[in-house]
């Protein structure tokens, strides 16, 4: 009995050591694959030349990730040692992780590894073709001192606030509308959803044409103005850097000087891109709300109408509260999506006019690829991490605020 127990224990120890070695080996290989090295043809030619390069340029990275790998491997070994003696749990452990392995390996290599790489790079000066040199927090300091980066944050915050609120509201309105008994419901559902399934590149190009000075938006306005006998002066929508607040102030004869750009509000060009984004993404969220609406028990409405509640009251007291989980989801997804906006900017305005449509992700693109100067991978990574922290922060706050008081329903 005693001997049997100790042999089981020995087996468990052996398995734990095996797990440790295996997991450490996998993680360390991933670390090597993601090590920041001078990636020239000579370096990547053979395994030997690559490892030599890692030894000379990327030791700190490999050491840090190696330590992390030891931690994870030890944790895994402890679990294996505990679970091993119990046959069912051992089997569950092995089967579970075997099924997970393909996904885990891909994620670890191409997501976690790359994120660690980028995090490391954010603290270095790195031009891809040269070795990364450690510069501490310089890149972060440079970003926070750069007017262009601050302006990109300013832009993207306006964007997130306006677009998130507008598209969530529109999505709920559309969903409620389409959920009510009406004719041609299927048709409208398809039509409303069409912009969301169309490629954002195509939609952006169409909007660029619509917004041209000689485009249809101006044509429409001039026709409407003509109806009232007024002369309409065509606006260069995507080329207009004037801020909304600035325009209002100027209407009353005031002026916001160029130095106080942060008081000017989102520019006309930026608002045009907002309209486009609302148009494209609202239907996606509409589908989510529609699904959630169909889950609401009709007897609730029946009971409410017997109690004398009108449609408006039913919407505020039944529909909206029951949609709360989806609202949280939509707000979070929308905030993340809007803070990361890139494609529309890249295609429609390239950050202009006067940087009023520049966004952090667009800056990451220009700096990482050296569009206007030397390649600055480290600086670009630092911007990316500041943005990631910001997104994390907003998501956290939103969940806190909206989920508070959710219990009362």
């Amino acid at each position: 009995m005693q001997a049997q127990k100790s042999s089981v224990q020995g087996e468990a120890n052996l398995a734990a050591i095996g797990a440790f070695v295996l997991i450490f080996a996998i993680l360390f290989t991933i670390a090597l694959m993601n090590a920041p090295v001078k990636a020239t043809a000579q370096v990547t030619e053979t395994l030997g030349s690559y490892l030599r390069e890692v030894r000379t340029t990327a030791l700190p990275f490999v050491a840090i990730v190696g330590l992390l790998a030891v931690g994870v491997a030890v944790a895994a070994a402890v679990v294996v040692r505990r679970e091993w003696p119990d046959l069912t749990r051992r089997r569950a452990l092995i089967a579970g992780y075997s099924f997970l392995a393909p996904y885990l390996l891909v994620t670890l290599t191409f997501t976690v590894g790359v994120i660690l790489f980028a995090l490391y790079i954010a603290f270095t000066k790195y031009e891809i073709y040269t070795e990364p040199t450690f510069v501490g927090l310089d890149n972060f300091a440079k970003a926070l001192k750069s007017k262009q980066f601050l302006q990109s944050l300013h832009n993207v915050l306006w964007y997130a606030v306006i677009v998130t609120v507008a598209q969530t509201t529109i999505a709920i309105a559309l969903a409620v509308l389409l959920n009510s008994p009406m004719r041609f419901k299927q048709f409208f559902r398809t039509v409303f959803y069409a912009p969301s399934v169309t490629s954002s590149v195509v939609i952006t190009l169409i909007f660029v044409w619509l917004y041209l000075k000689t485009g249809y938006v101006n044509l429409l306005f001039s026709k409407v103005w003509e109806l009232f006998g007024l002369h309409y002066k065509a606006i260069d929508w995507l080329g207009n850097p004037k801020g909304l607040i600035q325009l209002i102030v100027e209407l009353f004869g005031g002026k916001i000087p160029s130095q106080q750009w942060y008081l000017r509000g989102p520019s006309v060009a930026w608002c045009c891109l907002m309209v486009q984004n609302i148009f494209t993404t609202a239907p996606t969220f509409m589908i989510m709300f529609l699904a959630a609406l169909q889950d609401i028990n009709p007897s609730l409405y029946e009971a409410a109408s017997i109690d004398g509640a009108n449609g408006w009251q039913q919407f505020w007291k039944i529909t909206l509260p029951l949609l709360r989980p989806i609202v949280v989801l939509v707000l979070v997804l929308s905030t993340i999506g809007t803070l990361q906006i890139f494609d529309q900017v890249y295609l429609a305005t390239a950050g202009g006019p006067l940087d009023t449509t520049v966004t952090p992700v667009y800056l990451v693109y220009t700096e990482a690829l050296g569009k206007q100067g030397p390649i600055q991978m480290g600086y670009a990574s630092a911007i990316a991490f500041i943005l990631a922290i910001l997104i994390f922060f907003f998501t956290f706050i939103q969940r806190r605020v909206i989920e508070r008081g959710a219990e009362q329903y």
Binding site: T40, A41, I128, K145, W209, A234, G373, P374
Partner: protein, 458 residues
């Protein structure tokens, strides 16, 4: 009610989409393709059974006696050549490769053009070790590859082939020289001239521009056109490139030659910015967007303005898109100090990690040689980078524009690795002035600060 409103909106947007889709978007017509002159004819092949002994060396006879490979190349060299460009440009380089094959028959050249996002793709390829052996180099790629050792210095091969830096127009080598070494040979160049529509001048009753013009003449004519006709006078966007000749002709520059300091907050720059802004205020200068064009060249094509500053690309652009619109060009106008133009140029460079450096260098030397460039000039596609070949330009308008490039005060708007940022700062400063958002003094004082920071790499 609401539903009806939405259905109306839907119908409207569908109609708008249809109208846009069917609208008259200018379709660039297919470029006239130069015929392939250098194709080896099938007849030359010794297919006749009567002379089997000759079969071993059939191509020797076809080779011209005087043409010889610029360098002795590696055996069995296979090199890849890559550049941007539309179908016209690709054909020109395919023809160049054919000519190269005649002088260096042992080298195989694979041409892999990358028409869009060339620089991005090349940087990625270089990082992955799959970059081509020979490729176009512009200031952006020079900045990324030059200081990091990704380009092969060509001076040794140039000496061996008997090619000297003095063979090229001096201003063109500025960008591609680093610490006294040459990392790219200029393949072509461009500059700006005064492009105008004679018909508009006739309507306004103004004499046609000449090569003797000054900016004052330009302004007077632009004002007359704006006043007396429905066309815009002179088209110029808030753009560093079109503004550069104004500044250079006033003895100014965007930065000092040693790149220690920006020169934007100087009278030379600000006087000209004020001049341009005054023109805008009085209505003699319009932007492309003002008249509903995407760029000023298009404004000429659509006959929306009388004049603009554009380059040799107008020849093919007008031929392909607006063949019926008559236009002409003269030398860039003279400024208060001198007559000077801005030069744009690109080079061909060699990947430092190429397997066949000699073959790659030989190809670069041949493509940029007098012999090959004389052929390219004939197509009207680009100017030769050799000063003695500038008058080979065929088209009269094009020749007038090209004249600006060989003026002694003309220069490249290159300000070191951060050129892109500095030029962008200038464009933005002009844009603020154009908008009336800031005065010239305010705007260029701010630009000076931004450009100084950019020069320091901040």
């Amino acid at each position: 009610m609401k539903a009806r409103w939405f259905s109306l909106m839907c119908a409207l947007s569908v109609v708008a989409l249809l109208v846009v889709a069917c609208g008259p978007t200018p379709q660039p017509t297919e470029a006239p393709k130069p015929t392939v002159a250098a194709k080896p004819t099938e007849a030359a092949k010794p297919t006749e059974a009567a002379k089997p002994t000759e079969a071993a060396k059939p191509t020797e006879a076809a080779k011209p006696a005087e043409a010889k490979c610029p360098l002795a190349v590696e055996d069995g060299a296979v090199i890849t050549f890559s550049g941007w460009g539309d179908e016209t440009e690709q054909q020109i380089y395919r023809d160049s490769i054919e000519r190269f094959k005649k002088v260096c028959p042992t080298v195989t050249v694979n041409y892999e053009p990358i028409p869009a996002d060339f620089q991005t793709k090349l940087k990625a390829q270089m990082a992955g070790g799959t970059a081509p052996d020979v490729f176009y180099v512009d200031d952006q790629l020079m900045t990324a590859f030059g200081p990091t050792g990704q380009l092969l210095a060509l001076d040794g091969y140039m000496a061996e082939a008997g090619v000297s830096r003095d063979d090229f127009i001096p201003a063109l080598l500025t960008i591609f020289t680093l610490e006294g070494k040459t990392y790219g040979l200029p393949k072509d160049w461009g500059t700006l001239g005064l492009v105008y529509i004679p018909e508009v001048f006739d309507q306004a009753g103004v004499a046609y521009p000449t090569g003797e013009w000054t900016w004052d003449d330009l302004r007077a004519a632009a004002r007359a056109i704006a006043d007396k006709t429905d066309y815009g006078g002179f088209c110029q966007n808030a753009d560093w490139a079109r503004f550069a000749p104004w500044v250079f002709s006033n003895g100014g520059a965007y930065a000092t030659d040693d790149l220690s300091k920006a020169l934007l907050d100087t009278p030379q720059v600000k006087e000209m910015a004020q001049y341009v802004y005054d023109m805008k205020k009085e209505g003699s200068l319009v932007t492309a967007a003002d008249v509903g064009a995407s760029w000023c060249g298009e404004a000429i094509g659509k006959k929306l303005v009388g004049m603009t500053l554009e380059g040799g690309w107008m020849v093919n652009f007008m031929r392909q898109n607006y063949p019926d619109q008559k236009w002409a060009a003269v030398l860039i106008p003279k400024g208060p100090v001198t007559r000077a133009d801005v030069i744009f140029t690109n080079a061909i460079g060699v990947n430092a990690s190429t397997k066949y450096p000699r073959a790659a260098a030989a190809f670069t030397l041949y493509v940029t040689s007098r012999e090959n460039q004389a052929e390219i000039v004939k197509t009207g596609f680009a100017y030769s980078t050799h000063p003695d070949q500038v008058d080979l330009v065929v088209d009269a308008n094009d020749r007038a524009i090209a004249g600006g490039g060989v003026l002694s005060d003309s220069r490249v708007a290159y300000w070191g690795p951060n050129t892109g940022k500095i030029n962008d700062v200038v464009s933005k400063a002009l844009e603020r002035v154009y908008l009336g958002d800031q005065t010239v003094d305010e705007s260029f004082a701010q630009a000076q600060q931004e450009a100084d920071a950019a020069l320091k790499g901040q």
